[in-house]
């Protein structure tokens, strides 16, 4: 028998960047907000001993305990989906701050092309350049409409950068803090890229170049370049995150509280509205109902989709018929690149998650695709994130994987190897989607989310083309051995690749092909909002966080307006 708690204006499921932004904006506007976080409380004070590669980066201290919940995976519908039993291709977060605690801090705005990708692609290359199996669609919002929210997010997070990339959408304000230090590794990339006629620029960074106080009065410290960024919390409070910005802002209003160890298992719906959520206290096992005027799903992409599915809200996507929107347009990130082996040593163990330089000359529609069998592209970057010794054992091609030769080569090249990596755009395909697994269950008895995903011809072509470009730059940088990324075959859930999962709860202007409108308001329940990378109709040639942040600010504005007027926001 569930205990019913007092009603609140807004309940959020998850307290990371999106949940934190919703909480901060709504509580500043006078709404009572409760955040339900399934993990524990944590913050800067907990990260003093974080320079421990084994505990944090290898044994996944800050990540989701898969013993309680994971996903199942298959490459295609002919296969039986099986659990991702060990953390692999992506790293699910858990705890206050969510994935924003252990991000690298690489912050981007998607391009104007991204938001109107179907329209712009058809205009330039004719209808269906990729063929009928790709479910390409516009997002129902333009870059110009999102621009003010991008600016708000960048100023909240204190993003370090400089506005000198000719391929970006127009910015209304400069970056709040200057770019990070241009290290010798970055300078080498800059010189090589310039020699080849490209336009290198410093990567926009959530590892702040200097101490900064944001418009809400939260102070973020300056980055110390300690080399323990992704998979780690920042012991200096120098990596911008919900924990050091929007969560303290929300708490400071007195209108926000967080309930920890609270795993939401159902969204409660009556008629065409939701009434609240049901959750389980993971410490005591007690069951609760949290009534709310507005429910906001701000957990991770995969969990947002799963909650809608187990709550029977929205129509499940069926690839056989093309009907249904929930779970549709799942995308990932395509990762072209090249590795260079040098004679000289670099200080590769120093760095920061977003210390990097990038070219966008092969991103979006900046280059002509008439004679190419793919659209979009990738940002190509060199980063100096800090290489750690357990994970980083680079060896030239054809070196044995163990034994004396491996030891010698991996030690020699630990400080003599650089990588250029691309964040490649991922296009939606009718066979790539999320659904519920018929067999496997989580610790609460709910079905696991099932992921059906494989690389497509578009992905393979983009990967090949961009890897060649990366190799050219690496050659120009003076590497004595250059190894391009291996060609894409089937997607494999085992090796870590990226935690850029997108889609499944897509935004749009047409309810037949989207789950939410452009305020992220659910088409089937006007007081239900779904926020995150799940809103992406495709994934761009960049990391998702900046665009997620902008969408969260727009959603918060929508919720505040909804609390006054009710009804559809579009």
């Amino acid at each position: 028998m569930a205990t019913t708690l007092d009603k609140v204006d807004v309940v959020t499921v998850g307290v990371g960047w999106t949940g934190g932004i919703i909480a901060a904006e709504c509580s500043k506007a006078g709404l009572k907000v409760r955040g339900l976080e399934r993990g524990e409380e944590r913050g800067t004070k907990d990260y003093g001993m974080v320079h421990d590669e084994y505990r944090y980066a290898i044994r996944y201290e800050l990540f989701q305990n898969l013993a309680r919940e994971t996903i199942t995976f298959r490459n295609n519908r002919e296969m039986k989906a099986l659990p991702m039993r060990m953390m692999g291709s992506f790293l699910l977060g858990e705890g206050l701050g969510g994935s924003g605690t252990h991000w690298n801090g690489q912050n981007w705005r998607f391009l104007p092309y991204d938001f109107e990708i179907k329209t712009m692609t058809d205009e330039k290359y004719g209808p269906n350049k990729l063929g009928p199996d790709y479910t390409l669609q516009d997002w129902g919002i333009t870059y110009d409409e999102l621009e003010p929210y991008f600016t708000t997010f960048e100023y909240t997070a204190g993003i370090s950068g400089e506005d000198n990339n000719p391929f970006w959408g127009k910015r209304s304000e400069p970056f709040p803090t200057p770019p990070m230090k241009k290290t010798p590794i970055l300078q080498r990339f800059e010189q090589a890229a310039s020699n080849l006629g490209y336009h290198p620029f410093m990567m926009p960074s959530g590892n702040l170049s200097q101490s900064y106080t944001n418009p809400d009065g939260a102070t973020i410290a300056a980055c110390q370049y300690c080399g323990f960024c992704e998979r780690f919390g920042c012991e200096y409070g120098a990596k911008s995150s919900a924990e050091v910005t929007v969560v303290p802002t929300a708490l400071g209003t007195g209108n926000f509280d967080v309930r920890y160890h609270s795993n939401v298992v159902e969204i409660l719906k009556q008629g065409d509205k939701v009434t609240g959520v049901r959750f389980i206290d993971t410490v005591t096992g007690e069951e609760f109902i949290q009534p709310a005027e507005v429910v906001v799903l701000t957990s991770y992409v995969l969990n947002n989709a799963k909650l809608l599915m187990v709550s029977n809200i929205g129509e499940q996507y069926d690839p056989a018929t093309g009907r249904g929107t929930l779970g549709r347009n799942y995308c990932y990130q395509i990762l072209p690149g090249a590795t260079g082996f040098f004679d000289e040593q670099f200080n590769t163990f120093m760095g920061a998650g977003a210390l990097g330089m990038t070219i966008d000359d092969y991103n979006g529609d900046a280059f002509d695709h008439t004679d190419l069998d793919f659209i979009h592209g990738a940002s190509l970057s060199i980063t100096q994130t800090g290489q750690r010794p357990i994970a980083f054992n680079p060896v030239p091609p054809d070196t044995p994987a163990w034994g004396a030769e491996f030891k010698k080569a991996s030690i020699e090249y630990y400080t003599r190897t650089l990588n250029i990596g691309g964040q490649g755009a991922s296009m939606p395909h009718k066979e790539n989607f999320m659904s519920l697994d018929p067999t496997y269950k989580d610790a609460y008895g709910l079905p696991l989310l099932q992921l059906t995903y494989n690389f497509t011809d578009q992905d393979r072509a983009l990967h090949k083309y961009l890897s060649e470009k990366a190799a050219e730059i690496m050659k120009e940088m003076g590497a004595k051995i250059v190894a391009s990324s291996n060609p894409l075959t089937d997607y494999d859930i085992v090796p870590y690749q990226t935690t850029h999962n997108t889609g499944g709860t897509v935004m749009g202007s047409d309810p037949a092909i989207s789950v939410v409108n452009n305020y992220l308001q659910h088409w089937d329940a006007e007081n239900l909002f779904v926020v995150g990378a799940g809103n992406f109709a495709h994934n761009s040639g960049y990391n998702p966080t900046g665009t997620v942040g902008a969408l969260a600010y727009r959603c918060a504005e929508g919720i505040i307006n909804y609390s006054k007027t009710g009804g559809s926001l579009v």
């Binding site: 013993a67 039986k80 300690c226 630990y414």
Partner: protein, 255 residues
Amino acid sequence: MDNEKKGVSRRDFMKTTGIATGTLVGGGIIGGLIGYNVNRDTAIDETTGNQQGGGQGQEHDHPTNVGLKFFKNMTHFNVLSQATERIFPEDDLGPGAIGLGVPYFIDNQLAGAYGMNAKEYMQGPFEDGATTQGYQSRLTRSEIFSQGIAKLDEEAFNRFNKGFAEIEPEQMDEILTAFQKGEVPMQAVTSDFFFKLLRQATLEGAYADPIYNGNQNMEGWRMKGFPGHQFSYIGQIESEEFVQIDPKSISSMTH
């Protein structure tokens, strides 16, 4: 200072484990271990060019109060030790897995959350999947290691009529390669998966912070030039020269 920097040498390792000191005669293979290990010491010296014999007859520092938490007998622990040494051998750059304390690291990890698969999804049903779907075994890592180590020893007896720890290095490599290729039958797990775990655990032990009983005296880090736990590089990040920094353990923050 020199003594502080030295890891456990192979000879010290032999002392601490009872090999070649006669303590195993009653419970092990009579005569075989003793004679074999004397030859092994010589062979190692020759292959590494270390003609001084590593200070034979002198005292050497090695960690006190390090012991086995998982392995129940020295035979299996020695099999593990030799296997890790072949994966990451001593050479002119510095110590191998044994000298770095990797076998103790692995033993200690197998006794804890890692060995018990505490954070892995272990609900059934269990079915073999495609390689792209990853590990689907019902076994925990500790169960896989138990079986794998016993299997290495069994394979050595089958091929060479001796235990794994007694055969020649090239023979060890032959067996490890067979495991790596998935050619050795195991129950409820493949030998290539066991080999992947073993290789990865060896690297983890070689380079984890020494608080985990591997990477003895931070020698693993020194070989790579990795400074371990340093608070900040803001003063050095723009250096055009490679910066050599003496490594620090996380333990330096608590003492």
